[in-house]
């Protein structure tokens, strides 16, 4: 059975993978904004930039547990990291919500928001459950998008988002039942698996080697 410092180290390493994947997706999306001035890519880029910073803060908190001298385990920092992540997930859902509004079709999932957000007693709980809601909203919209485009990659991304969503759900559970250490590990494993799936379009993009000198 891994000890608490082992768990903290594994957790921090997995969070760093999250940082790398999130910033990679954000980089490609924001590069796309420069080329195409697309607001959808802008929101996608912002979403992953926030997620990346959120994971970064959480990984630093994890490292703080290994090195108590750093003393960055304060609750405010944890909440700050969660806030960044939730903002990322919000932009992820918002990218789809704007598409929905533009096509004059409102997703019924939006109605669930007030109910879900009241389920946690403190801010960290509320942020976690909000993240879960936002990701699942993204999943529904991505699947809807797949029904339009029939692009298998879109379905694959929906799967990645689902894993991310289940991960945030476990994050919420781990906050509720802090004595069950495995919940936290399960959360980060699911999130990293989800993020790794989201990394595939970036890989394909990198292999494609798109080159244009400056915006039009």
């Amino acid at each position: 059975m891994p000890t608490a410092p082992d768990m903290a180290l594994i957790d921090a390493m997995l969070q760093f993978i999250g940082v790398f994947v999130s910033f990679s997706v954000a980089y490609v999306a924001l590069k796309g904004v420069r080329q195409t001035e697309s607001m959808s890519l802008m929101r996608l880029g912002l979403a992953f930039a926030f997620l990346g910073f959120g994971f970064l803060v959480e990984s630093l908190v994890g490292l703080g547990q290994l090195f108590p001298r750093l003393s960055i385990t304060a609750t405010d920092v944890v909440v700050g990291g969660l806030l960044l992540e939730t903002t990322g997930y919000f932009f992820l859902a918002f990218s789809h919500a704007v598409d929905v509004v533009l096509s004059k079709r409102m997703g019924a999932a939006l109605l669930i928001l007030p109910v879900m957000s009241l389920s946690g007693p403190d801010l960290a709980n509320i942020l976690s459950i909000l993240s879960f809601y936002f990701v699942m909203y993204g999943v529904v919209e991505t699947i809807y998008s797949y029904s339009r485009t029939r692009k298998p990659d879109t379905l694959f991304i929906a799967m990645g988002l689902s894993l991310l969503g289940v991960g945030t759900f476990f994050q919420w559970l781990s906050l509720l039942y802090q004595y069950v250490a495995v919940l936290s590990l399960l959360q980060i494993i699911l999130q990293v698996m989800g993020l790794t799936i989201l990394f595939t379009p970036v890989l394909r993009f990198a292999v494609g080697g798109v080159k244009v000198n400056g915006p039009v």
Partner: protein
């Protein structure tokens, strides 16, 4: 339901028309670009001079009419545009 095209989408449409319809290699006339680009003549004229100015299109000036041909930079732009469109679609988004 009709969807609004962004300026970049219109540029991509014009460039892809100039590329696809230039079968004989003598360029494509404004009428063909208008038909496929689906924008007004005034807007198309302005857009064409901008695209020629930025080096995405080449203007082949004849005795009576001008014809347009996609440049290497234009082909490069289209490739990038389609890559980013594909990237956005993978995430279930429209560019």
């Amino acid at each position: 339901m009709a969807q609004y095209r962004t300026q970049v989408k219109i540029i991509a449409d014009v460039l892809s028309t100039a590329r696809d319809m230039n079968v004989e290699g003598t360029g494509v006339g404004v009428t063909a670009l208008l038909r496929r680009g689906n924008i007004s003549y005034t807007r198309m004229s302005k857009l064409l001079s901008e695209l020629v100015g930025s080096g995405l299109l080449l203007e082949l000036t004849g005795e009576k009419i001008s014809k347009y041909m996609i440049s290497d930079k234009g082909i490069q732009f289209l490739a990038a545009y389609y890559s980013f469109e594909d990237f956005a679609q993978t995430f279930g988004l429209r560019l």
